[in-house]
């Protein structure tokens, strides 16, 4: 192909709105990719103060419907023809906390010709700071519609969509334009809500989209394997491209605590294994009393965890911080002695790379993608409280091990970069485009 590939990128979380790894990874990858391809990035929300060079960013919260000319006679398609969901259940939660009714509605498959007035109304759902509140379903639906309309106005070679919230849009655009589609999977429904959630409507969106996609990019081999084994997506189109991390200035701080600090950082939800962290803390404290355990983050399990901590009488050795700003997170890392990520299923686990950057030895679960990158982290199966505890104790007890882990982690970090990951994605694009052109030639 003569020109730089043009990519229509569909994102959900993006700075400054960050909820978890999705936004960080979408940003890191997109920024690095923008040096190799032309990108139009459609997001539910953009901040006028946050723009990335060389990327055309369109935020639906700031979007002016008057600029769009809807040509419904030549480019008609049946919206949402690929998703046969009549009623969407409540309480099937994607990334965020429970206790909120998500979306209850009936999709109509006959709705054509969206009118401007209606569209304007529909754009209202993007005027929010919480992408995951009760209107999530509506937001996903409206995002898909708007993205399709915008897609007709853009010239592009490839559709690249990040996670299920944008995959609906990607499918619609693909079926309307026949352009190749990349489904980029940062997290699966079965990671967030357990394998038993497989079959629910979100997982169905994921499956349908991945079946339809020309390429599926997973953030780890771990996730790629789940996609192949659980979602039964043909292996030949599933690729693993690891996440990376931008170098940030790191520092160590003088801790005011005489004890060693072992930290957990992440959403306090079942997926992240907070109960396991508490079990591990209980076990470690039996043997080494001069340690403090810190659980940083918030989520639907926080209340339960606080109660459990009190029940186990860990009060003075186990601390909850609630939500922490990035600055506070960095401070906590700078006084920590061990970082623990006991996730039940972690597609990647960017926070472990952040901890490694801060020179904090990591103990992570084998059920995580970052384990493939951080060869120097000590690992255990998430359910193996003994091994997890042992790993923590060993780091606290043996300086030789601690020093070596930190040193080896720097070597691991030196091997990953967003540039490298972007280059891998870029090669996948080229490879696919070349294949398509070959096919065309062959048929022609």
């Amino acid at each position: 192909m003569a020109h730089k590939p043009k990519v229509l990128m569909l994102g959900w979380e993006f700075p400054p709105i960050l909820n978890g790894g999705l936004g960080v990874a979408s940003y890191g990858l997109t920024k690095a990719l923008s040096k190799l391809v032309d990108i139009t990035l459609i997001l539910p929300i953009t901040d006028p103060n946050f723009w990335v060079e060389n990327i055309e960013m369109i935020g639906l919260n700031n979007f002016d419907i008057e600029n769009i000319k809807i040509n419904s006679t030549t480019q008609r398609y049946e919206f949402l023809e690929h998703i046969q969901i009549e009623k969407i259940a409540a309480n099937l939660l994607p990334y965020q906390v429970a206790d909120k009714v998500l979306f209850e509605s009936t999709f109509s498959t006959s709705e054509l010709h969206p009118l401007k007035e209606k569209l304007r109304e529909e754009l209202e759902v993007f005027k929010t700071n919480d992408l995951y509140d009760g209107a999530l379903g509506q937001r996903v639906y409206n995002f898909s519609k708007m993205a399709c309309i915008l897609a007709f106005k853009k010239d592009f070679d490839i559709i690249h969509a990040h996670d299920w919230m944008t995959l609906v849009a990607a499918m619609e655009i693909k079926s309307a334009t026949q352009k190749p589609m990349v489904a980029h999977i940062h997290s699966l429904e079965i990671d967030r809500n357990g394998v038993e959630s497989y079959g629910n409507w979100i997982s169905q969106i994921e499956k349908t989209a991945m079946e339809m996609a020309d390429m599926v990019v997973a953030v780890s081999q771990y996730t790629a394997n789940l996609i192949k084994e659980v979602y039964k997506i043909p292996a030949h189109k599933v690729y693993a491209v690891h996440n990376a991390i931008d170098q940030v200035p790191v520092f160590r701080s003088e801790s005011s605590l005489p004890e060693k600090v072992v930290m957990f950082l992440g959403r306090v939800t079942g997926q992240k294994g907070p109960e396991l962290f508490m079990d591990v803390a209980t076990k470690v404290l039996e043997y080494i009393p001069n340690v403090r355990f810190v659980m940083a983050g918030t989520g639907n399990k926080l209340k339960e965890m606080i109660e459990m901590g009190a029940y186990k009488d860990l009060g003075n050795r186990f601390h909850f911080t609630g939500f922490l700003s990035p600055e506070k997170v960095r401070y906590l890392l700078s006084i920590s002695d061990v970082y623990v990520m006991p996730s039940v299923s972690e597609p990647f686990g960017l926070t472990a790379l952040e901890a490694a950057q801060f020179g904090v030895p990591c103990v992570i679960s084998n059920q995580s993608g970052v384990a493939e990158v951080l060869t120097s982290a000590l690992k255990a199966d998430y359910w193996d409280v003994d091994k997890m505890s042992e790993n923590i104790i060993s780091i606290l007890k043996y300086k030789g091990l601690r020093d070596q882990l930190v040193k080896d982690a720097y070597a691991d970090l030196a091997k990953v970069s967003w540039e490298k990951s972007a280059a891998e994605v870029y090669n996948l694009y080229l490879h696919h485009i070349a294949e398509e052109e070959e096919e065309v030639l062959f048929i022609g």
């Binding site: 120097s376 042992e390 060993s394 007890k397 043996y398 300086k399 091990l401 020093d403 070596q404």
Partner: protein
């Protein structure tokens, strides 16, 4: 008449006492340190794949060429012990082979340790213990010494000389030879001891590259190997030093490694240019004319051929320091079993498993290691040391 070029084959037989996966929670609970089941399994596996078939081959050659068949072996004391315990048939087969008086057995440290670089008295103790064991089992007293993995520096020679050895085998290292011929006999820097240098190129042709399909010589045959020998200029003795496990274990019999070994040895014995010789023979034929001046430690391990295989990272340094620091306390207890247990923990392999090298050497470390990661190897070892310290207090 011109002397024929001596080809000196020396085979290393060593098996460490691999330790248990000793977790923090095992400390102070009287769990045993040594993984008997695993050690028994490995020595029996290696007996079947290597020791027994290789010995049979050697015994046959020994009978066929009673005067010409001259090779050397070195056994770590703990390998002999394990054969006594777990593989008596294997030991019997070695004993049969050693009935040939032309086979020389070398001296080394009983526990295959790095004691020479830490505590001279301990080194002397382990070397003497080893000679005693060899004498007891094989009725020979070693006069040629090979330190653990050919570790050597100018400091090593007097230690070895003081306990009655007159020859040391060590590694030929380019940065020290600086173009000098490795296939000759050298003096140590004090000119008391003969030094024989391992020809690493030819040794690695067999040891590392025999099964490597990307190697230039693949498939290596006896003819090609003899041809390479004949290309060497001004050689007095060419020393091929290999792990005995090279034959049948590191390289499987399906790769025709035994055929290669047999043909090579036979071709040498039938040749008019070469003859098999042992270090004892070689040092009676040739005298050193130059010094091999080794200011920093060398060894046959890894690409660096220094101590980095055992002392390349902070875990290895800490673990090594810890075990030698305990010596005084251990000996103060005057308890034979305790001393033996401690000494088993000085074996170099424990530290080798802790290596974090990631290159092709790293792959070799991983191949030998019974543990998942170098961190595991370190943690189990350090937990054992912690347990051992408690034991010391309580005795």
């Amino acid at each position: 008449m011109l002397l024929m070029i001596s080809i000196c084959f020396y085979f290393q037989v060593h098996q460490p006492y691999r330790i248990n996966e000793f977790t923090f929670f095992n400390i102070g609970k009287n769990k045993s340190y040594i993984n008997d089941a695993l050690n028994e399994e490995i020595i029996n596996k290696v007996s079947q794949s290597c020791y027994l078939p290789a010995n049979e081959l050697m015994i046959n050659l020994s009978l066929k060429y009673p005067n010409k068949f001259k090779i050397a072996y070195s056994f770590s004391g703990i390998a002999i012990e394990q054969m006594e315990k777990y593989a008596p048939d294997t030991l019997a087969s070695f004993k049969t082979l050693m009935l040939n008086p032309n086979i020389e057995i070398l001296g080394e440290t009983y526990y295959h340790s790095l004691s020479s670089i830490y505590i001279p008295e301990e080194f002397e103790r382990q070397a003497k213990l080893h000679s005693k064991k060899v004498k007891e089992i094989f009725k020979q007293t070693p006069t040629t010494f090979r330190n653990t993995e050919l570790i050597y520096s100018n400091n090593t020679a007097p230690l070895v000389h003081n306990i009655g050895f007159n020859t040391i085998i060590t590694e030929s290292v380019g940065r020290i030879l600086k173009g000098k011929n490795e296939n000759r006999i050298y003096n140590d820097s004090n000119k008391h001891t003969n030094l024989m240098l391992r020809n690493y190129n030819l040794s690695d042709d067999i040891g590392f590259r025999f099964s490597d399909k990307n190697s230039k010589e693949y498939p290596l045959t006896a003819k090609k190997f003899i041809h390479k020998l004949s290309k060497i200029k001004d050689a007095e003795c060419i020393n091929i030093c290999l792990d005995y496990e090279t034959f049948g274990e590191h390289h499987k019999k399906e790769n025709k490694i035994f055929g290669f070994l047999e043909n090579t040895l036979e071709e040498i014995m039938n040749s008019t240019d070469f003859e098999l010789a042992t270090p004892k023979v070689v040092t009676s034929l040739y005298k050193p004319t130059d010094v091999y001046d080794v200011k920093e430690y060398i060894s046959w391990a890894d690409t660096e051929r220094d101590l980095s295989a055992w002392l390349g990272n902070s875990m290895q340094h800490e673990a090594m320091k810890k075990i030698y620091e305990l010596r005084e306390k251990v000996f103060a207890k005057n308890n034979k079993e305790l001393i033996d247990l401690w000494a088993k923990l000085t074996t170099s392999d424990h530290f080798y498993y802790m290596s974090t090298k990631t290159n092709s050497d790293g792959m070799v470390h991983k191949y030998f290691s019974p543990y998942n990661t170098p961190y595991d190897a370190y943690v189990y070892y350090m937990n054992i040391i912690s347990d051992f310290e408690i034991k010391l207090k309580n005795i």
